[in-house]
C-alpha cells in the first residue's frame, strides 16, 4: 500500500495542454449546442408535420428545416473556426473513418443538407414555393419529392436523430476525459437537443395544439434530462477514483457553481416549473421559458466541455 502521492511535477508545458487541457473553447460549445438544437428542430418539426393537416401549419413549422439548415451552417462555421489547420478542412471529405465520431459527423452534416432542404421546400406554403420555384429549376424534383413526402420526412427525422446522437457521442467517445466517459452523455445531449428544439419553436407563433404538444414534449425532455444528470452524477460518485474525480468537479469543485446554477436550476428546474404552470393554468405564453431552456442547453455544453477537458487521467495516480 503506497502512501498518498503528495507531489507531482512535470516539465511539460505545452500550450493548450498544460497545466489543464484547453483545446476547445466557445466555438465547440456553440457548435455542439447548435448541432443539438438543429437535431431537435428536425426531429420535432418532422413529427409535427408527419400527419397531414387541414390548415396550413404555422410559418415557423414550414420554415423549420430551412431554419435548421441556417443554424447548422452557423454551427459548422464555428466548428471551422476551431480547426487549427483550416486549409485542410476538405480532408474530412476524402475519407470516411467509421471509428471516428468526428468523421461520422462530417458526413451526417453533408447528408442532412439535401434532405432537410427538400423537406423544407415541401413544407413551405404554395405561395412561397411558387416564388422560390420561379427562380430555381426545381419543379421536377419538388414534384418527385411531393410524392415521397413521408419518406422525406422520415429521412429528415432520421437525419435529426443521427445528428443528435452524433453530437452526443462526440465527447462521450473521448474516454480519456473522465467527465465525458459516461454512457449517459450521449442521451443527455440528445434529450437536451430535443428540449432546445422545442424551446426554439416555442419562441414563435404556433397553433394551440402544436404548442401544447411541444410544451408537453419539452417538459418530458427536461424531466428526462434531470434524471440523466442525476444518474450521471450518481454513476460518477460510485465509480472508483476516476469517477469520484468527475463527481467532485460537479459536486464540490471548479465547475459546481456554474453547473448547478446555469444548467440544473436555470436551464431545467425553473423552465419545468414555469411550463407546468403554463399547462395547468392555461396562462398566456411568454418567451422567458424557452429562452431559459435554450440558455440552459448552451450552458450544459459549455460546462461539460470545459469540465471534461479539466478531467484527464493525469489527475489520477
Amino acid at each position: 500500500m503506497l502512501p498518498t502521492l503528495l507531489e507531482h511535477t512535470s516539465t511539460r508545458v505545452n500550450a493548450e495542454i498544460d497545466p489543464v487541457l484547453h483545446i476547445w473553447g466557445w466555438e465547440i460549445a456553440v457548435y455542439l449546442f447548435l448541432g443539438g438544437l438543429v437535431a431537435g428542430l428536425l426531429i420535432l418539426s418532422s413529427l409535427l408535420l408527419w400527419r397531414p393537416r387541414d390548415t396550413a401549419p404555422a410559418r415557423i413549422l414550414q420554415l423549420a428545416p430551412l431554419v435548421a439548415l441556417v443554424l447548422l451552417s452557423l454551427g459548422m462555421g464555428t466548428l471551422f473556426l476551431d480547426l487549427a489547420y483550416k486549409l485542410h478542412v476538405f480532408r474530412f471529405y476524402l475519407a470516411f473513418r467509421p471509428t471516428s465520431p468526428m468523421s461520422w459527423g462530417a458526413w451526417i452534416l453533408v447528408l442532412i443538407y439535401p434532405v432537410a432542404a427538400l423537406s423544407g421546400l415541401l413544407a413551405l406554403g404554395p405561395e412561397l414555393q411558387g416564388k422560390l420555384l420561379k427562380k430555381l429549376p426545381l419543379v421536377g424534383v419538388l414534384a418527385w419529392a411531393q410524392r415521397q413526402r413521408q419518406v422525406l420526412l422520415g429521412a429528415t427525422l432520421a437525419g435529426g436523430v443521427g445528428l443528435g446522437i452524433y453530437t452526443g457521442l462526440l465527447l462521450g467517445t473521448l474516454t480519456a476525459r473522465i467527465q465525458w466517459n459516461t454512457a449517459v452523455l450521449g442521451p443527455l445531449f440528445l434529450t437536451s437537443g430535443l428540449s432546445s428544439g422545442a424551446a426554439f419553436l416555442l419562441l414563435f407563433k404556433l397553433d394551440e395544439a402544436d404548442r401544447h404538444r411541444l410544451v408537453r414534449w419539452d417538459m418530458l425532455a427536461l424531466a428526462v434530462e434531470g434524471v440523466l444528470i442525476a444518474s450521471m452524477v450518481l454513476g460518477f460518485a460510485n465509480a472508483g477514483a476516476a469517477g469520484q474525480l468527475a463527481a467532485d468537479a460537479l459536486l464540490g469543485g471548479a465547475w459546481t457553481a456554474s453547473f448547478w446554477s446555469l444548467v440544473v436550476v436555470m436551464g431545467i428546474a425553473v423552465p419545468l416549473v414555469l411550463e407546468s404552470i403554463e399547462i395547468k393554468k392555461h396562462l398566456p405564453l411568454v418567451a422567458v421559458t424557452p429562452a431559459l431552456v435554450l440558455l440552459g442547453g448552451l450552458a450544459l455544453r459549455a460546462v461539460l466541455l470545459a469540465a471534461g477537458q479539466d478531467s484527464g487521467f493525469r489527475l489520477l495516480p
Binding site: 503528495l6 507531489e7 516539465t11 508545458v13 470516411f96 467509421p98 471509428t99 465520431p101 461520422w104 457521442l169 467517445t173 474516454t175 454512457a183
Partner: protein
C-alpha cells in the same frame, strides 16, 4: 469490451465497410517523420557548456549547427550527453551574444558602451596594460578565469609578468575538498575526480546531489553502479534526486556533517569495520584517530545532527560492508560552513578506513597521455610576486591556487600586501560567482582597467571598460586537452562553424594582445590549429585521425593497486595521513573537530544553494533552449512550515537575509523534500544584466543574499551556507 471497440464494430457493420486496421501497415514512417536535422557532416570537438569537457559531435548542415550529440569514442561522454551539452546550439545562436568589441563611454557600470573595431579595442587594452606595468608593476593585474579557453590568457598574463590568477572554482567551490584530500592522500582529486563510481558497491553522498549536479561521466557511472545493485547512503538536508534512490537517506541538520563523520569513524574503529591490513600498510595516525573519536558516539552525533543513531550505525555498516569497493563521494562544491577543509579531511579519513584509495570501486591513481609542448615557446625569465589574495598579515597555510575573492579584496586599496589595479575577466561572472557581491562592485570602482572577455553580456561585462566578444566553443580552436583519468586519452576542440558576428577565438585575442605588448615571442604559432597540429605531430599522433575522431586513446596503464599500480601518496610521510602533522605544525587541528553551527534565529532559515541538471551556474540561464525547462528558480520550503506560515505552494515570496538584503520575488515550492530549518534554491538565476534579455529578472540571485561568508582557516575558502533568510509573501 471497450466502448471504443463497440463503436468501431457497429460503425463498420452499419456501413458494411471492411476496415482492416492491422493489415498492410505502411512500411515505415521514415519520410514523413524525418525532421531533417542530420548534418551533412559532423565535427568532433568537446563541450564547454560546463567544465567537464565531454566529447561531442556537432551536426552541421548548410553552415549551421543543427544538433549536438555525444561522441561515442570519447571516454567522458561515451556517446551520451547531459542536457546542457545537448543545448550548445542555444549558446551558439543566442541572440543576446556579444557581437562587437566595445569600449565604455559612461560611468563604470552604467552599461554605456560604444562599438569599436578590434584594433582599437586591443590597442586600448595594450596601452592601459603597459601604463599599469610602468606605474604599478605587472603584478597589479589579475586574471579571473573559468573554462578551458582561459589557458591562453593565463599564458599571456604570465608572459606579462603576473601570476595573480583567481578561479572561483577554487575558494568558492572545490578548494576545500582538494586541500583536505591533498593533506590526507597527497594529491588533489582533480576534474574529473579520480573516483571509480561505476565499480562501487556502496556509495555515500554528503551534500553532493549527483544527478542534479550533472557531470556526465560521473552520472553515467552512478547509474551504472545502481544498475549493478550498488547501495546508496545519501546525507542531505534535502530529499535530493539521489536521496530518492538511496537505501538510507539521512536528513542531516545543515552544518553538522563533521559530527556524523566522527561518529561513523567511531563506529568503524569500534566495530572493526575498517581495513586493518590496508591501514597498517599505507596509513599513519590510527591511534591518535582512535583516541580522537573515542567519545564521538552515534548517540552524541544524533543530538548534533538530528539523525537517528540507529540510522547512523546502519548506514556506515552498509558502506563498510562493501569495502574496498565502497566510496564516500568527496563532493565537488564544498564551500559551505568555513570548516570545509576539516570536513573534507574527515571524509578522506572515512575513505582511508574503507581502504578504497587505489582500489576498484574507490579512488584510482590517474594516468594520462603525454603531448609535447609547442616547440619554441620561451620559458618565463621572470619570477612572480606572491599573489595578494589574502588580507595583509593573514596566513592561510595550505592551498596552491589563488583565492578569487582575495584578489577582489586586494583591489580595495590597503587591504592586502599590495593593491591590484586591473582585472582581466575571462568567462567568469564575478558578480554572481563571489560572495559579498557588494564588495565586488566596490572593488570594481577602484580599478584602472577592467577587460571582460566573454560570449554573453553577463553582469560583470556591464562594468567593463573594454568588452571583447569571444567566439563560442563551437566556433574556435583551443589547445589540446590532456586529462588525468582512469583511461588515457587526449581531445581536441575544433570549430564546427566560423565565428558569428565579429567575435574572435580566445587564442587570437590573447595573441593579438601579446603582439601589442611586445610579448609576441610567447605566442610563436600562427594560429591555434597550428599549435594543436604541431603538438600532436610532435607526440607522434595520427593528426588526421585525431581531428576526425576528436579524441585519441592511449593504451592505458594500471590505475588500481590490485592491477599493479604503484601506491603513491605524496604526503610528507609518503603515507595516508589520518593524523596530519602538517596541520598540527601550522597550528591547525591535526584531526577534524566538530563545532556546532550557528543556529538560525527564530523565523529565519538557513539558505542552501545547489544545481539543476539543465544549467551551469548563471552561465546558461540565458540559453533559451535550455531554459525552456527550468527558466526560473524556486524556493524549497518544508510543506508543513509553509502551511504554518500560511504560504501556499506556488506563492510568490521574497527573502530578507540577516543583513537586511532583500531578494526579488520568487516562486515558493512547498515540499516534503526538505528539513524545516533550511530553504534551498538553485544557484545562477535572478540576472540583472540588461543584455541578458531572456534571463534578466527570472528567479532570484542567491549570491546577492550571500552577504557574509565564513573563511576556512586552512586555505582561505569562503563558506557560503552561513546566511539566514526570513520569508514573506511578495
Amino acid at each position: 469490451m471497450q466502448r471504443r471497440d463497440f463503436i468501431k464494430i457497429t460503425g463498420t457493420t452499419a456501413l458494411g465497410v471492411a476496415v482492416a486496421t492491422s493489415l498492410g501497415l505502411p512500411k515505415s514512417g521514415q519520410a514523413e517523420s524525418d525532421p531533417g536535422t542530420d548534418g551533412d557532416h559532423t565535427v568532433a570537438t568537446f563541450c564547454e557548456l560546463c567544465f567537464w569537457k565531454c566529447g561531442v559531435l556537432a551536426h552541421v548542415k548548410d553552415g549551421k549547427v543543427t544538433k549536438i550529440v555525444g561522441n561515442p569514442m570519447h571516454p567522458l561522454s561515451n556517446g551520451a550527453l547531459c542536457p546542457r551539452g545537448t543545448g550548445g546550439t542555444g549558446l551558439l545562436y543566442d541572440p543576446d551574444r556579444l557581437k562587437k568589441p566595445m569600449i565604455r563611454v559612461g560611468e563604470r557600470g552604467a552599461q554605456k558602451f560604444k562599438e569599436v573595431e578590434w584594433p582599437e579595442a586591443l590597442d586600448f587594452v595594450a596601452n592601459k596594460l603597459k601604463e599599469i606595468a610602468t606605474k604599478h608593476g605587472p603584478e597589479a593585474v589579475a586574471l579571473f578565469v573559468h573554462g578551458f579557453g582561459g589557458s591562453f590568457f593565463r599564458h599571456l598574463l604570465n608572459a606579462y609578468g603576473s601570476d595573480n590568477v583567481g578561479q572561483p572554482s577554487h575558494a568558492q567551490c572545490r578548494g576545500a575538498r582538494e586541500v583536505g584530500f591533498q593533506l590526507t592522500f597527497g594529491a588533489p582529486l582533480g576534474s574529473p575526480e579520480v573516483i571509480d563510481l561505476e565499480n562501487s558497491r556502496a556509495i555515500a553522498l554528503i551534500g553532493s546531489h549527483l544527478g542534479e549536479n550533472m557531470h556526465n561521466t560521473q552520472v553515467q557511472e552512478f547509474a551504472k553502479a545502481i544498475e549493478c545493485g550498488a547501495q546508496l547512503v545519501v546525507v542531505d538536508p534535502r530529499f535530493s534526486t539521489a536521496a530518492g534512490k538511496a537505501r538510507y537517506w539521512l536528513p542531516i541538520k545543515p552544518g553538522t556533517d563533521i559530527a556524523l563523520l566522527l561518529a561513523w569513524i567511531h563506529v568503524m574503529l569500534g566495530e572493526g569495520l575498517y581495513d586493518r591490513e590496508y591501514i597498517a600498510k599505507y596509513a599513519i595516525g590510527l591511534e591518535q584517530l582512535r583516541a580522537h573519536v573515542a567519545d564521538k558516539t552515534p548517540e552524541w552525533a544524533s543530538l548534533e545532527t538530528g539523525l537517528d543513531p540507529a540510522q547512523i550505525v546502519d548506514s556506515i555498516r552498509l558502506l563498510a560492508g562493501a569495502r574496498p569497493a565502497a566510496l564516500l563521494h568527496p563532493g565537488r562544491h564544498t564551500a559551505w560552513y568555513g570548516d570545509d577543509t576539516q570536513r573534507a579531511r574527515a571524509m578522506a579519513i572515512v575513505n582511508a578506513l574503507l581502504g578504497n584509495y587505489g582500489r576498484r570501486g574507490g579512488f584510482y591513481f590517474p594516468t594520462k597521455l603525454g603531448v609535447p609542448k609547442y616547440a619554441g615557446v620561451p620559458e618565463f625569465a621572470h619570477t612572480f610576486k606572491r599573489a595578494p589574495d589574502r588580507p595583509k598579515g593573514k596566513v592561510f597555510p595550505f592551498g596552491d591556487e589563488g583565492l578569487a575573492h582575495g584578489l577582489r579584496d586586494a583591489t580595495i586599496p590597503g587591504t592586502a600586501d599590495y593593491d591590484l589595479k586591473a582585472w582581466i575577466v575571462y568567462g567568469t561572472n564575478l558578480v554572481q560567482a563571489l560572495p559579498e557581491p557588494k564588495k565586488t562592485l566596490e572593488a570594481i570602482q577602484h580599478l584602472e582597467l577592467l577587460v571582460a572577455i566573454d560570449v554573453l553580456p553577463a553582469e560583470i561585462v556591464g562594468y567593463a571598460d573594454v568588452v571583447l566578444p569571444e567566439a563560442t566553443y563551437l566556433e574556435r580552436w583551443d589547445d589540446v586537452v590532456v586529462t588525468p583519468y582512469k583511461s588515457q586519452y587526449i581531445a581536441v576542440r575544433q570549430p564546427a562553424v566560423a565565428p558569428l558576428y565579429d567575435s574572435k577565438p580566445g587564442w587570437w585575442i590573447a595573441k593579438e594582445l601579446a603582439n601589442r605588448l611586445g610579448l609576441g615571442a610567447y605566442f610563436p604559432w600562427n594560429d591555434a590549429s597550428e599549435l594543436v597540429k604541431a603538438r600532436l605531430e610532435a607526440g607522434k599522433f595520427d593528426v588526421a585521425a585525431v581531428l576526425k575522431n576528436g579524441v585519441a586513446l592511449g593504451p592505458g596503464k594500471p590505475v588500481f593497486l590490485e592491477d599493479g599500480a604503484p601506491a603513491s601518496f605524496a604526503t610528507p610521510s609518503k603515507k595516508i595521513e589520518l593524523f596530519s602533522q602538517q596541520l598540527a605544525d601550522a597550528g591547525l587541528d591535526p584531526l577534524p573537530n566538530y563545532t556546532p553551527p550557528e543556529e538560525p534565529p527564530r523565523g529565519q532559515f538557513r539558505l542552501l544553494m545547489g544545481r539543476t541538471p539543465t544549467h551551469t551556474f548563471g552561465r546558461t540561464t540565458n540559453n533559451r533552449f535550455l531554459s525552456e525547462i527550468y527558466s526560473e528558480n524556486e524556493l524549497w520550503l518544508n510543506a508543513q512550515v509553509a502551511r504554518d506560515m500560511g504560504l501556499d505552494d506556488g506563492a510568490q515570496v521574497r527573502l530578507t537575509n540577516q543583513d537586511g538584503v532583500k531578494s526579488t520575488p520568487l516562486r515558493l515550492k512547498a515540499t516534503q523534500r526538505i528539513r524545516p530549518d533550511c530553504v534551498f534554491m538553485v544557484h545562477g538565476y535572478g540576472h540583472t544584466a540588461p543584455g541578458l534579455r531572456f534571463a534578466k529578472g527570472r528567479g532570484v540571485d542567491d549570491t546577492a543574499l550571500v552577504s557574509r561568508s565564513k573563511i576556512d582557516p586552512v586555505f582561505g575558502g569562503t563558506g557560503m551556507n552561513v546566511n539566514f533568510v526570513a520569508i514573506e509573501r511578495a
